[in-house]
Symmetry: C2
Subunit: 117 residues, 2 copies
């Protein structure tokens, strides 16, 4: 992981985990549905900003991952926002197809564990 | 931190960080705005489910934190969802007042770092 190619002004504002990562909340720009949580290091963010295609760091595979590169279920980025303390990114995207690898629209569709009665 | 009081069936499905935490995406139930990212351990989740009031683990203060206990800007929980791999929680809440400690509606309002042109 390197910060060499990300805008240094932006890199200076990021607060990363011990692994050098920032959590990324991914929200559908049209429906406002929360699609998934992913992770970026500086290089993933640089690739995302340069390409306009959501690119994450896969913690399980320890590699970069252009969302939808295999499945076709890409995320075209509309907005990138940083939170008030610089430790979380909000990505607003146009999602093609299902966001979740299970085939559901979002990664949160299948598992409602509690609701207000 | 203890898992003693959280439903063991639910506790078994959570995948936690090395610190025993799960990231929580907080979304306003009416507007669908993403308000903030917070963290829960098992006990914070148990307290949230028991009280219906969003309760987090503060990593900076290393203590439990009922959102809005001081400010009055509480979060009444409507839904709790778990993602497909059990490592992220989505909380849908009725937010009273500003979600962000800076006074803005969400923690992502102030800092747009990139947008599609």
């Amino acid at each position: 992981m390197t910060t060499a190619d990300l805008d240094p002004m932006l890199a200076a504002r990021l607060k990363r985990t011990a692994d050098g990562l920032v959590p990324v909340i991914v929200q559908e720009a049209t429906t406002d549905a929360v699609l998934m949580l992913a992770w970026m290091d500086d290089e993933a963010l640089r690739r995302t900003l340069d390409s306009g295609q959501a690119t994450y760091w896969s913690r399980s595979r320890q590699s970069y991952w252009v969302k939808g590169e295999t499945s076709g279920h890409r995320q075209a980025v509309r907005e990138v926002r940083l939170d008030c303390d610089g430790d979380t990114i909000l990505l607003k995207v146009d999602q093609t197809g299902a966001a979740c690898h299970t085939g559901t629209t979002t990664c949160f569709d299948a598992d409602l564990i509690w609701e207000q009665r």
